[in-house]
């Protein structure tokens, strides 16, 4: 379990997170929902120790991340993959180099094994044949999928996805969501930040709703939907209404 306890952080006099306490259960898909600027991406950066909180602690495998030495933090990060919201691909490296850059023990692998690994990962994200392209030659959605392949390259125990489906077409969205499900079956823990409710509900086991740096609700989908919190109701209103929308209901039935 990854625990955040009473995390607060202020940057440039801006309160980014305010007394955030949450648990991420291993082997489950945790969804972080919230409007733009709520602090969703910040939570991921805190979990990885990229940002140091002003207050509070992060417990990963029983250890406080804030008190770890640099070496311990590096070891922790090797267990956690992340897909950044802006992809953060290395633009001086090709797709294949981006994916293999951090692979531990890659020096021990033969040329063919590496090639096989790349092909496997790229076909996983529907990007076969793009090995030698540079990030600037890819579309936004393709970059996102390379970033996903990079995060999965070293078989991390935990993957943090920051808006993995934003800007993708329905087919690629579906394949990313299937991928997250597949990872779960292999025992991987996913934390998915998103504001697309359909996607959240398709893969989510646990939900965390955050607004203005504070947790407003956390728990199962039922608990969230039954919430009395006005912000949560407002946030989910459109989704609930859409499900009552006859067009959507009929198209779902027809497609079954």
């Amino acid at each position: 379990m990854i625990e955040l306890k009473n995390i607060s952080i202020t940057l440039n006099d801006n309160v980014i997170l305010d007394d955030v306490t949450l648990n991420i259960e291993m082997g489950m898909n945790t969804i972080v929902l919230g409007p733009s600027g709520a602090g969703k991406s910040s939570i991921l950066k805190i979990i990885l120790g990229l940002w140091k909180p002003d207050n509070g602690e992060i417990i990963f495998e029983g250890k406080n991340v804030c008190k770890m030495t640099d070496d311990e933090i590096l070891q922790l990060r090797k267990k956690v993959g992340i897909v950044f919201q802006g992809n953060a691909l290395f633009d001086s490296l090709t797709v294949a180099e981006n994916i293999l850059y951090f692979l531990p023990g890659k020096k021990k692998l033969s040329e063919n094994e590496l090639k096989y690994k790349i092909e496997e990962l790229l076909s996983f994200v529907n990007l076969s044949g793009t090995e030698n392209l540079y990030p600037e030659e890819l579309s936004g959605g393709m970059k996102k999928r390379v970033a996903i392949a990079r995060a999965l390259a070293f078989n991390p125990q935990v993957v943090l996805f920051d808006e993995p489906t934003t800007g993708l077409d329905p087919i690629n969205t579906e394949s990313i969501l299937e991928l997250i499900e597949k990872l779960k079956q292999n025992g991987t823990t996913s934390v998915v930040v998103t504001h697309i409710l359909d996607d959240a509900i398709e893969v989510g086991d646990n939900f965390i709703v955050i607004n203005e740096g504070k947790i407003v609700e956390a728990g199962s989908l039922e608990k969230i939907l039954r919430s009395k919190n006005p912000f949560v109701n407002e946030f989910f209103k459109r989704f609930i209404e859409e499900n009552h929308n006859p067009f959507i209901r009929i198209s779902k039935e027809v497609n079954k």
């Binding site: 990229l50 590096l74 990060r77 992340i82 950044f84 802006g86 953060a88």
Partner: protein, 251 residues
């Protein structure tokens, strides 16, 4: 924070970066590819600039001192002036200033753009250290490459001075060369070759520091690139003064 507090804070951060560099210097063996690539970039891409800089400074030095010395009929001294001037002072300073602009701007803009597009965060997120992957290769490359480049500036400057004084003041080429070489004592060479190592170290670390601390989008990147070039150029002049005044007297 006031400006003064910001400066103290910046100095503290910079010293921490330097401490980090020394603490992880051994990691260079895992990052040979990056280091060799940076050496290649500094070496090949700056060669022509340094060549031109050294050549013209040597020529100008010969012309200016030649005209003064000619009035005393002492044009034989041009060789000594040019060779000591180039090796001790002008070679290292000109090479240093040109490299501060070239290498400094390159490092800050590269690392700054990586910082802004979260590539630095990505490095850290995947368990790599930006100091090991980016800063140390650039520092080692500067430490290794600045000396030969300065040497080129020195030699080309002396040769330029030699050609000019042969054309303008009719001095004999072989006499000029012999005087130029024999005027140089161990101490001159030592100071002249130690300077580029210090310059290289500070240009690389200052420019990497400004790159890694970039914030505030493209304006911030522009500002930091300017700062990197300005601070390292100023520091070169200060270090040069310290060498000329203090180190020279200690030796």
């Amino acid at each position: 924070m006031t400006r003064f507090q910001k400066m103290i804070f910046g100095l503290q951060e910079f010293s921490l970066l330097i401490k980090d560099i020394f603490a992880h210097l051994g990691s260079v063996k895992d990052n040979w590819t990056e280091t060799i690539q940076e050496m290649y970039l500094i070496g090949t891409k700056s060669f022509f600039l340094i060549f031109l800089g050294g050549l013209f400074i040597g020529i100008i030095l010969a012309i200016e001192t030649g005209h003064q010395l000619e009035t005393f009929g002492a044009t034989a001294w041009i060789a000594k002036t040019v060779s000591l001037g180039m090796v001790r002072e002008l070679g290292p300073v000109i090479a240093g200033l040109l490299l501060a602009a070239r290498t400094g701007a390159k490092n800050t803009s590269e690392l700054g753009a990586m910082q802004l597009s979260e590539q630095i965060d990505a490095l850290r997120a995947f368990g790599a250290s930006p100091v090991e992957k980016l800063v140390i290769p650039r520092t080692i490359a500067a430490l290794v490459m600045f000396l030969p480049l300065t040497l080129i500036a020195d030699i080309v400057g002396i040769l330029g001075g030699m050609l000019v004084s042969n054309q303008t003041f009719h001095s004999d080429i072989s006499v000029f060369w012999n005087t130029a070489v024999t005027s140089l004592k161990m101490k001159d060479l030592f100071v002249g070759f130690l300077k580029p190592i210090f310059f290289g170290f500070f240009i690389a670390t200052i420019s990497c520091y400004f790159g890694l601390t970039t914030k505030g989008g493209t304006t911030g990147l522009g500002k930091n690139t300017i700062n990197a070039v300005v601070y390292s150029s100023a520091l070169i002049l200060v270090i040069d003064f310290i060498f000329t005044k203090v180190v020279w007297e200690l030796l």
